[in-house]
């Protein structure tokens, strides 16, 4: 009886070698994105997929994308952050004031702004984690408080103009050669880690995915990356904000999958009681999630302020909702415990594409709100109904 069962596990593990793991959600998202691109291309005579527009698109999505990275962690941990829009406004205001009114140099401004963002996140995280106030309330309060402080310190004025270095952050492009070099380095690293991982798995006697799948994936990613870089290089090159988004995404994907902190966040959101009884420190981990969100909001604010070459009182308004929508469209569950950063990025790209495409078609702005709202509801409904069918 015993040997029978242990072999049944072995057989099943071997089966896995042959079965290709389908991540339906990722595919649905990719298909949706392709559909949107095709539709807009048709209506704009291909202008939507032109080098110039792609460059604009990536610039436009960068602020929401940075916020969505942090928001994914917040929502996965089972919380919400409604204050990120005001946080972007306030930290952007602080950055501009330090430079324009006090004449600080760009590097010091960047550093101090990010630290301030992290501290504001710490403040909110402390209320949520250590004082047990629901995140919805704490961050709703934060939304008002931060906006209020911004109006107070800026005396309601627009703060401008910035110095050259600051302006570069959101308005510069990588030289063509550097763009290609970075892309090639990325692809080489991908090949290196795939081979290393395969040999390690073989050493440990673990099941291996068939080579053609692993190498096929590398081929697809490589073609895709080179294609994008080529398209962007036909215009001005890779936009710096896009590089920041890719860098931060890589960092946070690494954190969420390879560190104990990342694993804990998913466990806490999945089942807080079970996580606590497994020895996970709930409070400290939640606090860190909010600190990271604050720091990311500060980075987003630097990009935004730089792109606008000014800090305004209304900067970042409604960004929290765009960031949450990006996460949700990307498959993050508001119940917590489930969600991927890559999904949130695709979600942000979908939202930005709709804005961008509809503007190109000269559709009035009010339609953009209506369409984005409907897509949000549709995305969640699709997710729920596909799960019901599976169950």
């Amino acid at each position: 009886m015993q040997s029978q069962q242990s072999t049944s596990l072995n057989e099943n593990v071997q089966e896995k070698k042959l079965s290709f793991k389908f991540d339906m959600q990722a595919y649905t998202l990719a298909i949706a994105l392709v559909l949107i691109a095709i539709i807009f291309s048709i209506f704009t005579d291909g202008e939507f997929l032109s080098s110039r527009n792609l460059s604009n698109l990536f610039n436009q999505m960068s602020v929401i994308a940075v916020l969505a990275i942090g928001m994914t962690l917040i929502i996965v941990a089972g919380h919400i952050d409604l204050s990120v829009g005001s946080l972007v406004g306030l930290t952007g205001g602080i950055a501009a004031i330090l430079q324009v009114w006090y004449g600080w140099d760009t590097l010091s401004v960047f550093l101090v702004t990010i630290i301030v963002g992290a501290l504001l996140g710490l403040w909110q995280g402390w209320w949520v984690a250590y004082r047990g106030v629901p995140a919805f309330i704490v961050t709703l309060g934060g939304m008002l408080i931060f906006r209020g402080i911004l109006v107070g310190i800026s005396q309601g004025q627009t703060v401008a103009p910035l110095e050259g270095g600051f302006k570069q952050l959101g308005n510069s492009y990588l030289p063509y050669s550097i763009g290609y070099i970075l892309a090639i380095i990325g692809i080489v690293l991908l090949i290196f880690f795939t081979i290393k991982n395969r040999s390690k798995r073989a050493n440990l006697g673990l099941a291996l995915t068939p080579g053609f799948i692993d190498y096929g994936k590398i081929a697809v990613y490589s073609i895709f990356t080179m294609g994008i870089v080529y398209m962007l290089n036909r215009y001005l090159g890779i936009p710096t904000p896009m590089l920041i988004v890719v860098g931060l995404a890589a960092l946070f994907i690494f954190i969420s999958s390879k560190t104990a902190f990342g694993r804990s966040v998913y466990a806490i959101g999945g089942n807080e009681e079970a996580a606590a009884l497994s020895g996970i420190n709930i409070k400290r981990n939640v606090l860190w999630v909010f600190i990271l969100m604050g720091a990311l909001a500060a980075v987003a604010s630097l990009i935004l302020t730089s792109r606008l070459n000014a800090a305004t009182v209304g900067a970042g308004e409604m960004y929290e909702l765009d960031a949450i929508a990006a996460c949700v469209i990307g498959g993050t569950s508001l119940m917590g415990g489930k969600g991927k950063i890559v999904g949130a990025l695709i979600g942000a790209l979908i939202m930005a594409s709709i804005d961008n495409g509809m503007s190109m078609m000269n559709i009035e702005t009010f339609w953009q709100f209506i369409v984005k709202g409907l897509i949000l509801i549709l995305a969640v409904w699709l997710d729920i109904s596909s799960k019901k069918r599976a169950a």
């Binding site: 015993q2 069962q5 242990s6 049944s8 596990l9 099943n12 593990v13 089966e15 896995k16 793991k21 991982n197 390690k200 798995r201 440990l204 006697g205 673990l206 999958s257 390879k258 560190t259 104990a260 694993r263 998913y266 466990a267 999945g270 089942n271 009681e273 079970a274 996580a275 606590a276 009884l277 497994s278 020895g279 996970i280 420190n281 415990g337 489930k338």
Partner: protein, 512 residues
């Protein structure tokens, strides 16, 4: 007395994989107090849920007659209409509403377009006087003690037309003076012709109140006798009198020195202020399997979750692990010291259902699969595969979400998670609840193997055969403390039950 207020004939109720009620017959005379007794899981609550319409007509087989008329309840409302009221162990009051509003929540007085509060309060006062509570009807229910809430709940059911009143463990949360008030009320109701079904573990109360006693065991009716022909001992014998039908792979083992000693241990619940554990003491030795027996509410789970650092409450007393004092503030302290706790509710406290098997097994021992502070996914998969193979886990692969596994396999994942940590002390709370027989046997074998390796094991279980079949020694808990203990050879179901129900204390007194 010849007329029956209630007759239930041939009631059979099945849940997936379990036959909770098997051809049960239950007859109650008009105007009597009829006690329903049985071990945890004997089927008492299920029977009452069938009666009150929680399990609707059609989901069970058999017939129910009220006042001689056949009834088919599809909802709770329908059973209330013919005068059946049921008061559950878990109170169903709305804490944020006033006493008066709660009393008349489903009453016509509250259903008018405009509620006449003066009339409501006047009516409430009458009922409060009847149950001996001198409180303002405008008081919020949440501000009252649990005992008083229980009395309110009884009054609430009396405000409706009630011919048959069912009380499920009504005195579990009451103080002694409240119990006396309740007893007086029940006697008064009886004199007014209300029929009462009284479910209780406390046999002393049953002997004082009841006219007849029906005993259920394993979902079957064992007997219905007039109280005059019974004694506490006779009821206990009927409750437990079964043969050990399941197999327990017990083998005598070498038992070592003390590994865990608990002395003068008390726990005060931080929410209710109640002393849930009162001066408990026990010891556990290396390689020993210690069974913990007791009724629901005896404090077994509270004692061990508190030792593990997972119970919100103030604790007093000493815990020694391998002779050294152990200070546990949070679960990670206990885990790092080598204590593991498998909870009674695996879905709520043991697993993250949406995560896969691999991630669940490493959750409490993540440092075992880390290199340079980073999770090594390949090492994680390897360790997880090793341990789950040892547990004979059946699953498509280790990346399957735990949600999709059967109860037995889920429990094996929980066990894997804790055993990966190489614990010195393994606490198992109801380790085989809701698990099929085959998986049970495998889990018992795993427990034995661990004991053989020198792990000190605690099995908290409501199933007496399991405790008797697996344990080297049995500790019996009652009302928040250790009531006594038996060696494997001397332990019998009758002795344990007698001690657990607060009967004669003929067991040898506690160690230390």
């Amino acid at each position: 007395m010849g007329d029956y207020a209630l007759q239930m004939k041939g009631i059979t109720k099945e849940f997936p994989g379990v036959r909770a009620l098997d051809n049960v017959t239950f007859s109650v005379h008009k105007g009597e107090i009829h006690a329903l007794c049985g071990e945890n899981g004997a089927g008492k609550s299920t029977l009452m849920k069938v009666l009150s319409g929680v399990h609707p007509y059609g989901s069970y087989t058999g017939d129910i007659y009220v006042d001689g008329k056949k009834v088919e309840f599809r909802t709770i409302k329908e059973s209330q209409k013919v005068g059946i009221s049921i008061i559950y162990q878990e109170l169903a009051l709305i804490e944020e509403m006033s006493v008066a509003e709660n009393l008349f929540l489903s009453h016509d007085l509250m259903k008018r377009k405009v509620i006449d509060y003066n009339q409501l309060y006047a009516e409430s006062k009458k009922w409060l006087n009847y149950i001996g509570l001198d409180i303002d009807p405008r008081t919020k229910v949440g501000k009252l003690s649990v005992g008083k809430q229980q009395l309110i709940e009884i009054a609430k059911s009396l405000t409706k037309k009630t011919d048959i009143l069912i009380l499920d463990e009504p005195t579990a949360a009451l103080t002694e003076s409240d119990v006396e008030v309740l007893m007086d009320i029940l006697k008064d109701l009886k004199s007014k012709g209300v029929t009462c079904i009284y479910i209780s573990h406390k046999l002393g109360e049953v002997m004082e109140l009841a006219d007849h006693v029906t005993v259920l065991r394993d979902g079957q009716t064992i007997s219905t006798d007039p109280i005059g022909e019974l004694s506490e001992e006779k009821i206990v014998t009927k409750m437990v009198g079964r043969e050990l039908t399941e197999l327990f792979p017990y083998e005598p083992r070498q038992i070592g020195d003390n590994i865990l000693e608990v002395k003068n241990y008390s726990v005060i619940d931080s929410q209710t202020g109640k002393k849930v554990i009162d001066n408990a003491a026990f010891n556990l030795r290396k390689g020993e399997i210690l069974g913990i027996s007791g009724l629901m509410g005896a404090g077994r789970t509270e004692l061990f979750t508190s030792i593990f650092g997972g119970y919100e409450g103030k604790k007093e007393g000493t815990v020694l692990l391998e002779g050294k004092e152990l200070k546990v503030k949070k679960p990670s302290d206990a885990i790092n010291a080598g204590i593991a706790y498998v909870s009674e509710d695996r879905k709520r406290f043991g697993l993250v259902l949406g995560m896969d098997i691999k991630q669940n097994t490493t959750m409490a021992a993540l440092n075992k699969v880390m290199k340079f502070k980073l999770i090594d996914h390949n090492l994680e998969l390897q360790k997880s595969e090793e341990i789950t193979k040892k547990m004979k886990l059946k699953a498509p692969n280790l990346e399957t979400a735990v949600r999709q596994l059967s109860g037995g396999n889920q429990q094996k994942v929980v066990l894997s998670k804790w055993i990966l940590n190489n614990p010195k002390v393994l606490i198992l709370d109801e380790p085989t609840r809701g698990i099929d027989v085959g998986a049970k046997y495998e889990i018992y074998k795993i427990i034995n193997e661990l004991a053989e390796e020198g792990v000190g094991i605690v099995i908290i279980s409501s199933e007496l055969p399991e405790v008797l079949g697996m344990s080297d020694r049995v500790v019996v808990m009652s009302e928040g403390t250790v009531a006594g203990q038996f060696d494997r050879k001397k332990a019998t179901q009758e002795k344990i039950m007698a001690l657990a129900t607060g009967g004669k204390k003929d067991a040898k007194s506690t160690v230390h």
